[in-house]
Amino acid sequence: MNEVLIDIKQLAKRYKDSDFFAVQPLDLSISKKEIFGLLGPNGAGKTTLISMLCGLLKPTSGIFEIDQLNFKNNKKQIQYLIGVVPQEYALYPTLTAFENLMYFGSMYGIKKKDLKIEIDRSLKELGLSKFSNKKIKTFSGGMKRRVNLIAGILHQPKVLFLDEPTVGVDVQSKNVIIQHLKQLNDSGTTIVYTSHHMIEAQDLCTDVAIIDNGKIIAHNTPQELIRSFDNTTNLENVYLSLTGGELRDYA
């Protein structure tokens, strides 16, 4: 059995002035070196759950540990362990890609020389070397997503949280991002990511949880989930069978 890296117990979140739990009390274990996909329709509770795990949101109840550390007592240590790639382009538009990465990388106390090497390597691997000194505001959506990813991995985190890292990008950019995530995972990084792209999740994830109305309604490997449904060959059909076909608009 793989070693558990993230251990969640009865973790729940209810926003102020809301009658409903965005995340209902849930238990979940994510093992080391997994690529864990958190899938679900809009408003299902994916971002809320991942935000709690990143330390961005205070849980209403429950506890969780990352590498046997909890946020209450070990916030700083956990922040060094995790990397976060938020859904929005969390970058300064008037700074260049290099300046953005130098700034965010330096927050982890990486030496300037080592940081420069790491930035150059990452930019090269994600096809952005020649745009290193261009301002972010001149970048396309796909390029911004790639810089956004690099900003979260410069300190080589043990676990990487990504909130819809491929949303709104072209196929080429998406492919580069997915390949890079696979490489990171091969080198030992545990990845927890949310997505709406079922084909992408089926291809990338070693384990998936389908979440709806704040509850995990299915949790297994993609292959096992597909196998458990008759006449189904892909994760999208499983997903639709579990979550229904009706629209999930919410405000």
Partner: protein, 424 residues
């Protein structure tokens, strides 16, 4: 330390890249201080050098009204207009013209003013002489003479202070004429030679400027304006700084920073360093404008009686207190629509209660209390202490300490607010 340096460098780059914002940050305060000083100085000059056209309706046409007109004409402040298009003006016309703002003032001298004043004065003089048994022809019957009114019509848009100044000037002039008439009647009654009574003013004013270390402290308008408007401009740093913080939240960079091992204090530290630098550059530029540009614009010299070092010390602490307000607003506000108008309005309110426009002593009691807790007032007093009163470091320590305390309290509040809101 490295994180603080990187946070500072990032803020420097963000400011440097926003060229339009930089121009506004440095140029607008200069435009403000130049414009306001020129306007205020020229307004004062205008009052002393230009003449206000005054409509005059003389229903008396006698000795006294002629004397009033002659005095008005001799007075440098008024230009007497008694005819329009070659014909005299009626009271109704004067009322309409002043109401429309074509003239700031109309004076209506009542009919029989000379006659009545002479009669009243003669009656009073005779009464006094009777008391001393000097009068050869005692007045037996006292005639009832009503109080004479010179009507003054003011343009309704004229400020009260300006209106009062004109009223006092005319009142003073009429009093003098009245006194002269009394003296004249006494001379006639006592049959003594003309001008036997000395009519010139017995009491006059001599303005003496206080001295410190044998140096006369003589303030001019520039010494009042430059520090006041410089401080006003320094406090406007609240607006871009609060926007900067709100922007970090809306563009998502703040979300990333919250997951990084960096404290909110360090993030704010970078902002404090850079925005304080901006304040000091603003201050230096405005000081240079006062010292070197104002004389070329025909404005009085900007003389600094105290130490330049102390002046910069005051600028640093004033800047820090302004920065702490910007940080607190930016931390609490959720959108730029909240932070920008609130910040801008707050600066104007702080300036008003701080004594930038109206001196604190002239404010209502309640406002004077508010002024005592206004950082802009502490800063302004400190500037005046150094620029005009030539005070020492020890003398400004209380106000500097208040500014420092204000900075620490507001910064701590911002950090505490962030901690409460974001603790997981």
């Amino acid at each position: 330390m490295h994180k603080l340096w990187m946070a500072t460098y990032k803020e420097f780059l963000l400011l440097k890249r926003d060229f339009g914002g930089l121009i506004i940050l440095f140029l607008m305060p200069l435009v403000l201080v130049i414009t306001v000083t020129i306007i205020q100085e020229s307004t004062v000059q205008h009052l002393f050098t230009s003449k206000i056209p005054v409509l005059l309706i003389d229903n008396d046409s006698n000795e006294l009204s002629h004397s009033i007109i002659s005095n008005l004409k001799q007075n440098n402040s008024f230009e007497v207009v008694s005819e329009i298009d070659g014909r005299s003006i009626s009271e109704k016309e004067a009322n309409d013209l002043v109401l429309k703002g074509k003239y700031k003032l109309a004076i209506v001298i009542p009919e029989g003013l000379t006659e009545n004043l002479n009669a009243k004065v003669s009656q009073n003089v005779a009464k006094i002489l009777n008391e001393f048994d000097i009068n050869e022809d005692p007045v037996l019957v006292e005639k009832d003479i009503s109080i004479q009114q010179i009507k003054l019509y003011f343009d309704p848009t004229l400020q009260i202070s300006f209106r009062n100044a004109i009223k006092n000037g005319i009142d003073n002039m009429v009093s003098k004429i009245e006194t002269q008439s009394i003296y004249q009647v006494f001379e006639e009654e006592l049959e003594i030679e003309n001008n036997a009574f000395e009519n010139s003013e017995f009491i006059s004013f001599l303005e003496i400027n206080p001295q410190k270390n044998n140096i006369e402290i003589k303030p001019n308008s520039v010494q009042h304006n430059v520090p006041a408007w410089t401080l006003f401009a320094i406090f406007f740093i609240i607006v871009p700084l609060s926007i900067n913080i709100v922007k970090e939240k809306s563009q998502g960079t703040f979300v990333r920073l919250k997951t990084n091992p960096i404290s909110y204090t360090t993030i704010l530290g970078g902002k404090v360093v850079i925005y304080l630098l901006v304040c000091l550059i603003q201050f230096t530029l405005m000081l240079l404008v006062g010292l070197y540009l104002f004389p070329y614009l025909g404005l009085p010299d900007f003389e600094i009686n105290g130490s330049y070092l102390l002046l910069f010390l005051v600028a640093i602490f004033s800047g820090l207190s302004a920065i702490s307000i910007g940080i607190l607003i930016g931390t609490i506000a959720e959108t730029q629509e909240q932070s920008a108008p609130f910040g801008a309005t707050l600066v104007v309110i702080l300036a008003a209660i701080g004594g930038v426009w109206v001196p604190v002593f002239a404010m209502p009691k309640i406002m004077q209390l508010f002024a005592k807790i206004s950082p802009m007032n502490w800063g302004l007093n400190c500037f005046y202490d150094v620029i005009i009163r030539n005070e020492s470091f020890i003398d400004i320590v209380p106000e500097i300490s208040l500014l420092a305390l204000f900075f620490i309290i507001l910064l701590s509040l911002a950090i505490y607010y962030d901690k409460v809101k974001n603790t997981v």
